[in-house]
């Protein structure tokens, strides 16, 4: 009984250690501020803003391994800050497994395998709860 308890405790310990590591992986993503200067309101410039948005979401969903994220501030050339859209600061759940695998490569093999199992069995991306 005591041994079982120990096993559960040590498992819990590993889980906590891993959560910290995942947290670190999250922190490794650095936001880089980028300004967008545009003539807000005209049909053409609105079209290009939509294209920039699509470009960012396409890029980061197809390159989940990237360590940087562009955070854009859209400014009207008439000097009004219109929106401050942050792209890529929230990573979709589907990308978490990628992040996890990345951590695994550089960390202890055993913990990783274990936690991939835990990840697989949990229906939600629990580390973002």
């Amino acid at each position: 009984m005591k041994r079982e308890n120990n096993l559960v405790l040590s498992l819990l310990f590993f889980v906590i250690v891993f959560l910290m590591q995942v947290g670190e992986a999250q922190n490794r993503i650095t936001n880089v501020n980028v300004g967008i200067v545009n003539d807000i309101g005209t049909a053409y410039s609105n079209m290009t803003l939509l294209c920039i948005n699509m470009s960012l979401s396409d890029f980061y969903s197809s390159h989940p391994e990237t360590q940087t994220r562009l955070v854009t501030t859209v400014v009207d050339s008439k000097n009004d800050v219109v929106t401050a859209a942050a792209a890529g600061t929230r990573i979709p759940i589907s990308l978490n497994l990628h992040a996890l695998r990345y951590v695994c490569v550089i960390n202890h093999q055993f913990i990783c395998t274990l936690l991939i199992y835990i990840y697989a069995f949990s229906s939600k991306g629990f580390f973002f709860a």
């Binding site: 200067v37 003539d39 609105n46 699509m54």
Partner: protein
Amino acid sequence: MHNKTLLGVDFVTALDLITNKEVKAILGPWTSMQAQFMIEMGQKSQVPIVTYSATSPSLASIRSQYFFRATYDDSSQVHAIKEIIKLFGWREVAPVYVDDTFGEGIMPRLTDVLQEINVRIPYRTVISPNATDDEISVELLRMMTLPTRVFVVHLVELLASRFFAKATEIGLMKQGYVWILTNTITDVLSIMNETEIETMQGVLGVKTYVPRSKELENFRSRWTKRFPISDLNVYGLWAYDATTALALAIEEAGTSNLTFVKMDAKRNVSELQGLGVSQYGPKLLQTLSRVRFQGLAGDFQFINGELQPSVFEIVNVNGQGGRTIGFWMKEYGLFKNVDQKPASKTTFSSWQDRLRPIIWPGDTTSVPKGWEIPTNGKRLQIGVPVNNTFQQFVKATRDPITNSTIFSGFSIDYFEAVIQAIPYDISYDFIPFQDGGYDALVYQVYLGVRDTDHLFFFICSIFTKMGC
């Protein structure tokens, strides 16, 4: 010293972004005029400015290594324009452009390439960005009264549509006129409305060439699903590619040195006090210059801070929009198909070998000569003595159905052959002359019997003299 109004809001905008938001790069600005202000600031604070729509060649002359152009310099198309003019053998061209940084930017290179083929620029039509319809009309009327009939138009879309509406109204979209548009207008033809397109029938245009690809097809279909009412054009594709390039470059540049150092206050002008210098700049500059990938709008690579086009599309506006009539390729010149490679340079004998059929202004398929005696719609009147006895030279017969006079004979044929050979257009009518000899004929002009505005010529004077 400098004040805000003098420097413009774009300057203040950029200053705010750099000092308060500490941005490491700026995407934009939209126009060449705005870019002018921002480029210098980008250089000072080591923040790359990546524009996808400011196309004026003059921006490159600011020579900032922190300025990147994810679009084509307007000058890059002048060779395509030159080839079109050369192909049809026009001798004179009048440029029409807007009076600002964007408009005049194209002029130096255009003048150079036209000089290479000995094409004269007799005058320029410069239109103020805020021109009223009346001011546009005055310019158009002037163009009408001058003999050149080939115009290269480099205007922004809004001004262009007003310009062509007036040109149609005044009568400059008729047979004999040649209009060549720069890609500024041609690239947005797809989003112009029917009325605007209607006024531009028959014009030629140089258009940015976007190679077909699966990625582009895929993107287009996603676009139409997500934004069914918003039209996509090449500037959108460049915006997309420029963003990808920046994301790639920033990823490669890493995350060290993401700080700003305040500029030395002592050597600053008042306005630039507090402007930070991005320590990340030099690294980002390097990675951005090296970025290369297959973008939606084609191969994406900065050469001297700019994208370099190697192909342009040539279009002819008919019906609902622009119809592709050929391509200009950097190495080979004009061709009907983009994948057509020259077998040998001598195989081309006429323009039809180079371009597909063209419908010119006035719904005609005959190539305009590019030069006309500006009679303002009036035609030359050619006096023909009809009572001479040598019918081999001039013979006048009456058409019983239309009751008009039909002229034939050697002198008439000769006259028409000469008119054909003249490299510009002359519109004329034969006027039968019954009463008296040549002296009487000349005296009529002196008396002003004929409208003096009409140019009045006599035919046959030499040839019929032999027989008279």
